[in-house]
């Protein structure tokens, strides 16, 4: 390969090595023929889901239209991205409401979040519907190595009662391949790493530890291909490739560190082997790999359940020993309300770090964030009262120069969340006439 040959490197080039190691490449200038029309980078979609609702008083920006005032507390960590996001108001998931099924708002809200339907109240014969991310994955997934990725950080149990008669399959999954088949999230960063770059085989903790003693970087395995490719690249592409490979190496280092820490903290733990004990570190690892997957066009569709719906996880990292879920049922008690706000704020701080990394990842003339649609939100608004209307929703990124961010857009009350899903599916090149209880896509003029 020469520097300028007029012949482009295929977009789906892999650096291959011994074994099954294969590393996809980021978007390089050399992937477009010289002086030819440069293809637009693909649009990516990720849903980042947080449980138990959000402190809406500290979430909603009061003023409609262009952001002008300072962000409220929970949004504050995202100030640096005010020109990159749309805060959407009044989206509703009617399917999450009781609708005669009694208690179980947590089970319903996550079950319906991307499926758009009222899930069956059961712990046995689960029934939801194909989720919108999977509708997209089914249509465009053949263009990437993975049709979609399902990530999580908390709990991937698929059986048992997780909320008043609702199966854990509803609270612990966002993505559903069919009405009876949820797609459990990958929780363990090591497992995700292996999925992205390796054989896909998840090792037992013992085997993983044994191998780790002799572990070399995956980059070592593909060094031959890397060198060959480097000779055919111009200086800009070379730098891009170096940065990209360094980011993979950095993920490896983080993984090794997490694995060492886990061994030190609790050698007999039943926690997945590569899961860092610290929430922020875990989040960073998962999102670093999500970023790499997007950057190398390994997938364009990701669902990420930051923690399972209804979780009672504590946040000792920020001094909160109480469980998240109990805190949200604060009944107006200021100390508990404050803890909820702090947890919500902690989550948006992590999100900000991810957004920063997306934004600083150049892609063609733009950046990865511009070419993405990062949807951050929850299946409940007020977790204390279990409200399913005005769901907290951020659309971050421009979806490939499509959306016009930097503002708050409020739709009419009871606007189905599924209308938003239709809009996203359309932008992903999968126009869909009907989905869940949608009454039609969101009014385009409001977002673009």
């Amino acid at each position: 390969m020469g520097i300028i040959t007029g012949k482009a490197i295929p977009r789906r080039t892999f650096l291959r090595g011994v074994g099954a190691a294969a590393i996809g490449l980021p978007f390089l200038d050399a992937m477009s023929p010289a002086f030819a029309f440069r293809a637009a980078p693909p649009v990516r979609l990720a849903f980042l889901y947080v449980p138990n609702g959000i402190d809406m008083k500290n979430w909603n920006i009061e003023q409609e239209g262009a952001f002008s005032a300072a962000f409220p507390r929970v949004m504050k960590p995202l100030e640096a991205f005010r020109d990159d996001m749309i805060q959407i108001g009044n989206l509703t998931h009617n399917s999450g409401r009781a609708l005669l099924d009694g208690a179980g708002d947590h089970g319903r809200c996550s079950g319906s979040y991307l499926t758009g339907i009222q899930v069956k109240k059961t712990t046995v014969d689960i029934k939801a519907s194909i989720s919108c991310d999977q509708i997209i994955a089914n249509k465009i997934g053949d263009q990437t190595r993975f049709a979609s990725l399902e990530l999580g950080m908390d709990d991937s149990r698929q059986a048992g009662d997780c909320d008043s008669g609702y199966s854990c399959a509803y609270t612990n999954n966002l993505a559903w391949r069919s009405e009876t088949q949820p797609l459990p999230p990958i929780l363990d960063p090591r497992a995700l790493f292996e999925r992205l770059f390796g054989t896909g085989v998840v090792l037992s903790p013992e085997e993983a530890a044994r191998q780790a003693r002799y572990r070399r970087s995956i980059l070592d395995f593909v060094i031959g291909d890397t060198k060959k490719l480097q000779t055919s690249l111009g200086p800009t592409d070379k730098r891009k490739l170096d940065e990209y490979l360094s980011s993979i190496r950095e993920v490896e280092r983080q993984l090794e560190k997490a694995e060492k820490e886990n061994q030190a903290v609790n050698p007999g733990m039943d926690k997945p082997y590569g899961v860092p004990p610290d929430f922020a570190e875990h989040f960073k690892l998962m999102t670093d790999m999500m970023l790499i997957a997007f950057q190398a066009d390994m997938t364009r569709v990701v669902t990420f359940m930051m923690t399972r719906e209804g979780t009672s996880r504590s946040y000792r990292e920020i001094g909160i020993a109480d469980g998240h879920h109990p805190c949200t049922h604060h009944q107006g008690k200021p100390d508990l309300m404050e803890k909820v706000t702090q947890i919500n704020e902690y989550h948006t701080r992590q999100l900000a770090g991810f957004l920063e990394r997306l934004k600083s990842t150049k892609e063609g003339d733009s950046n990865l964030l511009d070419n993405s649609m990062i949807v951050y939100g929850a299946g409940l608004s007020d977790g204390n009262r279990h409200l399913h209307e005005d769901l907290p929703t951020l659309l971050i990124g421009r979806g490939g120069n499509h959306f016009k961010p930097g503002r708050r857009v409020i739709f009419r009350k009871e606007t189905p969340m599924c209308n938003f899903h239709l809009t996203l599916m359309d932008r992903m090149g999968v126009p869909t006439e009907h989905f869940g209880d949608a009454s039609g896509p969101l009014e385009a003029a409001s977002l673009t």
Partner: protein
């Protein structure tokens, strides 16, 4: 779909009301009447929508709904309103009502509905609340143009839900068995035609002749609301609608009464048949055993009984509210 409510007895019938509040005072009276039935646990008001896009109408609807929901004046209810730009649809009565000042010189009736965004799409709202009702335990009363009901029909997947959830649709519009074109029909002939042709449940029409024969007595406004120690929005709406004294044609009240008590012989019922809509907006009833439509016929022997019930129900004080309250959510059966 099955009835899945807890407990043994189903809750009272849920009524979703959609009406042309800006042009028909009987719609405001119908809101009050539903409250009266609610105080007796004979019905539940599950949704209230207005028939045309109009911000001021939505504000008045909010004031009425808020009043009966026990919220202080100026609250905000979930009001349904059709899609479309509110333009030129404000009637003088709305301005008069909103211009009434309290003792302190500030507007007596205010609403938190300040923009169309503060309302819900009427068809989505009604669809959503219907899903929260036991099968067959809801009826819809329409006292205005059929535009919104037709949009409800056209919502993807809604027809089977309507068939299961809705006991009947009672339409306070048209004239029967034949008569002059009635304004609610005339304002959207195409929608009315589609509604009568395609609505999947039993449908009972209440013509303008019923409303005229059984009006709401203006004298009730003067004497039956003495209990109200604070401003009463229905009383003030009635006064603002037309110079007093007058008796208001009240087809919407007959429609609510029939929806709540279909078997209580307040009215006679036509034989089954089919209602069609002519190009000029006139309605025509054709008898036929297979037809899904009927229309109400005034029973002169019941006139006093009906009017007495009207005034008792419309002038009832707001039903006491219990429970923890769930904001502006549509009312479910739980």
């Amino acid at each position: 779909m099955q009835a899945r409510g807890r407990g043994t007895a189903p809750p009272p019938l849920g009524i979703a009301l959609e009406g042309d509040l800006a042009r028909r005072i009987d719609v405001a009276l119908a809101v009050a009447m539903l409250n009266g039935f609610a105080t007796k646990s004979e019905a539940r008001s599950i949704a209230f929508s207005i028939s045309r896009p109009s911000l001021k109408t939505a504000q008045i609807a909010d004031v009425l709904a808020g009043f009966y929901a026990g919220r202080p004046l100026g609250g905000s209810a979930m009001i349904g309103m059709p899609e479309g730009e509110p333009a030129g649809d404000d009637t003088p009565f709305l301005n008069t009502l909103l211009a009434i000042k309290g003792a302190d010189g500030t507007p007596q009736y205010t609403s938190n509905i300040r923009r169309p965004l503060d309302t819900a799409d009427d068809c989505v709202l009604i669809r959503n609340v219907l899903l929260a009702q036991n099968d067959g335990n809801a009826s819809i009363v329409l006292a205005g143009p059929a535009t919104g009901m037709v949009r409800l029909l056209e919502l993807y997947g809604s027809r089977p839900q309507i068939s299961v959830k809705v006991k009947q649709l009672v339409v306070a519009a048209g004239s029967f068995p034949a008569g002059a074109a009635e304004p609610s029909i005339k304002s959207d002939v195409a929608a009315a035609r589609k509604l009568f042709a395609e609505w999947p449940t039993p449908l009972v029409a209440v013509g303008s002749e019923v409303g005229t024969a059984l009006p709401y007595p203006g004298s009730s406004i003067e004497k039956d609301f003495a209990w109200a120690t604070a401003p009463h929005p229905v009383v003030d709406a009635y006064r603002a609608f037309k110079p007093m004294p007058y008796d208001a044609p009240a087809a919407a009240l007959a429609a609510v009464l029939y929806a709540v008590h279909p078997g209580d012989d307040y009215f006679k019922l036509s034989e089954p048949g089919t209602i069609s809509v002519l190009d000029d907006g006139r309605t025509q009833f054709t008898a036929g055993a297979e037809g899904k439509h009927r229309y109400l016929i005034v029973d002169p022997a019941q006139k006093d009984r009906v009017i007495k019930l009207y005034t008792d129900m419309v002038s009832a004080a707001p039903a006491p509210r219990g429970g923890r309250g769930r904001g502006a959510m549509p009312e479910a059966e739980e």
